[in-house]
């Protein structure tokens, strides 16, 4: 598209939002269609694929045995990594994670960690020495906006789908036994992201809305309706009133989205 057409379209998007409407017909607090498919990669201990409109995110879970952190010797380790895979967008470059993929991984991580979604104490094999390490690899396959919500949803969907191998300890060595147990999951945190455009809040911005938004705000909500993570992004600002309004909407939206998950 020529840049003039782009600018006309952007203006149109912004003007519609000022009137409470969106170019794709959604209301300001409507999500795009959400599809969650759990268990798509047999080779992974857990996996899920999420479609949020045309945004597509796959998440795979791998579990290994490793050392606990010195300050939590009785707990397993959670590691979240996000890859903005270059096939997902012309703006993604191959190479080590940039600030955008690091922020994405850390926001997803915070939601899982702070809601205590995984019972990490049940992942301890030998206190101070051996624990399970849960690798959550978020893989963005197509970028059409709102990567945070799609990634957080794919991550918890994959965790709910995760099976761990059984083991016993023989002479200090971990022996794998036949059979699996599910990963001990206690909560299902859901991220809800807002874009501020023309001083209005819209939920689940798609790519063209993100390109003109002033700022971004993500609220992650646990099963009890508590807030467990917040992240503001972008070069604009929010008023205190907007922040509190967003928290209320996020609570409602999270409850809706959580129903998409099989447990």
């Amino acid at each position: 598209m020529s840049s003039i057409v782009v600018r006309v379209k952007q203006k149109q998007i912004a003007q519609l939002i000022a009137k409470g409407k969106r170019l794709d017909g959604r209301g300001l607090t409507d999500y795009r269609e959400i599809k969650v498919e759990q268990g798509v990669i047999e080779r992974a201990e857990g996996s899920a694929r999420v479609l949020l409109g045309m945004t597509e995110v796959m998440t795979g879970i791998k579990i290994e045995i490793g050392q606990p952190y010195p300050d939590t010797p009785n707990e397993g380790v959670l590691t979240v990594n996000a890859e903005l895979v270059p096939l997902a967008s012309p703006t993604f470059e191959p190479g080590p994670p940039d600030e955008n993929s690091i922020e994405l991984a850390r926001v997803v991580d915070r939601g899982i960690r702070e809601s205590k979604a995984i019972d990490l104490e049940r992942l301890c094999v030998e206190p101070g020495k051996k624990v399970f390490i849960v690798f959550v690899d978020v893989y963005v396959l197509n970028h059409d906006g709102n990567l945070i919500d799609a990634s957080a949803l794919a991550a918890i969907a994959a965790l709910l789908n995760t099976k761990m191998f059984k083991y016993e300890i023989e002479e200090g060595e971990v022996k794998i036994k036949p059979g699996y147990t599910p990963l001990p999951i206690r909560k299902r945190p859901i991220a809800v992201t807002f874009a501020k455009i023309n001083d209005k809040l819209v939920v689940d911005p798609w790519l063209e809305e993100e390109q003109i938004m002033d700022a971004r705000l993500t609220m992650t909500i646990d099963d009890d309706g508590n807030i467990c993570a917040v992240q503001k992004g972008g070069s604009g600002y929010f008023t205190p009133k907007q922040v509190l309004e967003a928290a209320k909407i996020a609570k409602e939206k999270a409850e809706e989205i959580r129903k998409k998950l099989k447990w």
């Binding site: 047999e42 990594n81 895979v85 096939l87």
Partner: protein, 244 residues
């Protein structure tokens, strides 16, 4: 290839998954799987699940890398951390760097690279699940992604491996056969031109076995070529239906 004593071919001459020696695994191909890329394709071959996407032709940055008389094809073959048994670090391994090179060199002969001087095409391959023979399945998908992007091509490139397992030359090795077998010979072919654009081997083969394996792999390539053309047709028909 380590030679452990497992029975990979049973008394009836069938393989672990019930295939005959010269039989391909089930293959599913979808052209145009991704909306942002200029061209894309998805392939399932056995348990392999692979996406290929093409961006370009476009201006090349930094400019001093551009070539005055041809386009530059860049290729990244990459495996998702969860695609294999033990988690793979997302940083490119030496194996991934080598495969990116041989995949690129297997596709270059098929492109009219002189049509777009000073430009580049970026080809990205993501292995979401690996089950042996990922480089061949990647080439098969990548060639379709190039076609889907409208890049002018001499022919499609179809790829398939043959190898030696329990003393038998077999087609399209799956993961266990690849790891426990005696030899693996991945081949890529432009069928219309009878041109081999990828050829590698590891293992041990006599000259006669090598010849047999290459010929079997070429047969496999030709079968896959038919499926590639069907997948392309399927997309065009689908597009046409949408347009009407």
């Amino acid at each position: 290839m380590s030679q452990k004593l497992e029975k990979l071919i049973d008394k009836k001459g069938l393989r672990l998954d019930g295939r005959k020696p010269d039989e391909l695994r089930p293959i599913k191909i979808e052209v145009g799987a991704l909306s942002n890329a200029d061209g894309s394709a998805y392939i399932q071959q056995g348990k392999n699940k692979i996406l290929a996407a093409v961006y370009g032709p476009k201006e090349l940055h930094p400019k001093h890398l551009a070539l005055p008389d041809r386009m530059v094809l860049r290729c990244r073959y990459h495996m998702a951390p969860f695609s294999v048994q033990e988690r793979k670090s997302p940083a490119p391994s030496r194996r991934e760097i080598e495969l990116s090179k041989v995949i690129r060199e297997s596709l270059e002969p098929s492109i009219f690279i002189e049509y777009y001087p000073r430009t580049s095409i970026d080809l990205f391959i993501e292995v979401l699940q690996a089950d042996g023979g990922t480089r061949c399945a990647s080439i098969t998908a990548a060639s379709l992604a190039l076609a889907d992007a409208g890049i002018p091509m001499r022919d499609l490139v179809a790829a398939c491996a043959a190898g030696k397992v329990d003393g038998t030359i077999v087609l399209d090795l799956m993961d266990t056969e690849d790891k426990v077998g005696t030899a693996d010979v991945p081949v890529a072919l432009m069928p219309n031109l009878n041109a081999i654009t990828l050829l590698q081997m590891d293992g041990i083969l006599t000259l006669e076995e090598f010849e047999k394996a290459v010929n079997l792999a070429l047969e496999g390539c030709r079968k896959i070529y038919t499926m590639q053309k069907e997948a392309l047709k399927a997309k065009y028909i689908a597009v046409k239906e949408v347009e009407e």
